[in-house]
Symmetry: C2
Subunit: 126 residues, 2 copies
Amino acid sequence: MLIGELAERAGTSPRTLRYYEEHGLVRPSRDANGYRQYDDAELRVVHEIRTLLADGFGLDDIKPFVACLRAGNAAGHVCPDSVAVLRRRLAEVDGYLTQLTEVRRRLHEQLGHAIENREIRCLLNP
Amino acid sequence: MLIGELAERAGTSPRTLRYYEEHGLVRPSRDANGYRQYDDAELRVVHEIRTLLADGFGLDDIKPFVACLRAGNAAGHVCPDSVAVLRRRLAEVDGYLTQLTEVRRRLHEQLGHAIENREIRCLLNP
DNA sequence: GCTTGCCCTGACGCCGGTGTCAAGGCATAC
DNA sequence: GTATGCCTTGACACCGGCGTCAGGGCAAGC
C-alpha cells in the first residue's frame, strides 16, 4: 500500500503520515523507486495515533502505545508505559476540567450580573 | 506612571503592555521624550485584560470589555457587546467541558481495561 | 514523446501571547 | 565623562500538528 492509499484509508493526508514517520511513529518500507510501502498493520497504528491525538495526547506521548501495538498486543494501552501516560493524561484532563469549571462559574456569574444590571435599568426607565 | 511601574503593579512585563497597545487595548499618552505615560485607569484596564485572558478570552474578544470600562461603566462586562462575547465564550467552554468529559471517560475506560488485563495475567501466572 | 497523477524531499506559514536580543536614546548620580 | 538603569522600536523564537508551495522523479496510458 502506497502513502496515498493509506492516507485515504486512515482519513488523513500523506503529509501527515510523513510527519508521523519523521517522529518515529510509522515505519514504512521502501520500494525500489523510493516510494513508501505500508502493510495493514500500519493502518492499525495510524488509527491508534489518530484516536489518541483526538484525546489530546501529543505525538511523544503516543509512542509507547504504538510500541505496545508493535509488540503484538491487541490494544496499545495495555502496556505499563502506556498506562503511565494514560494516568498522567487523566490527571491533566482532570486539572483542565477543574479549571474550565471554575472559568465557567465566573462567566456565568458575570452574565448573571450583567442581566441583573439590565433589569435594574429597565425598572428605573419604564 | 511609566511602563515599568505599570508592568510591576499589574504583575506583568513592559513587553506585554506594548503588545496590548499594539492591539489597541491600552492607550498611554507620551512624555516629551517619547516615554509612555499611564494613568491609574489603565491599571484597571490591564487588570481586566489579565483576568479575561486567564479565562481563555483572546485579545480581540477582550476589546469590548475594555471599551465598556472606558465608557465609564463600573465593570467591563455590563455592556451588550461584552455580554455577547461572554455568551459565546460560555458556549465554547461548555463545548470544551463536554469534549473533555468524554475524553476523560475514554481514558478511564482504557485504564480500567488495562488494569483488568493485568489482573487476569496475575491470576494466570500465580 | 506527452500528459496525468502519484511519489519524493525540503522548507516556510500558522496561531497567540510572550520572552528575549539588538541597538540605541534619555535621566540621574557620581 | 561615565556608569547605571529605564525607556524606545523592531524583529526573531517558541510550541505542535499540519497545510502548502517549490522543484523534481517515476509510472502508465495515449
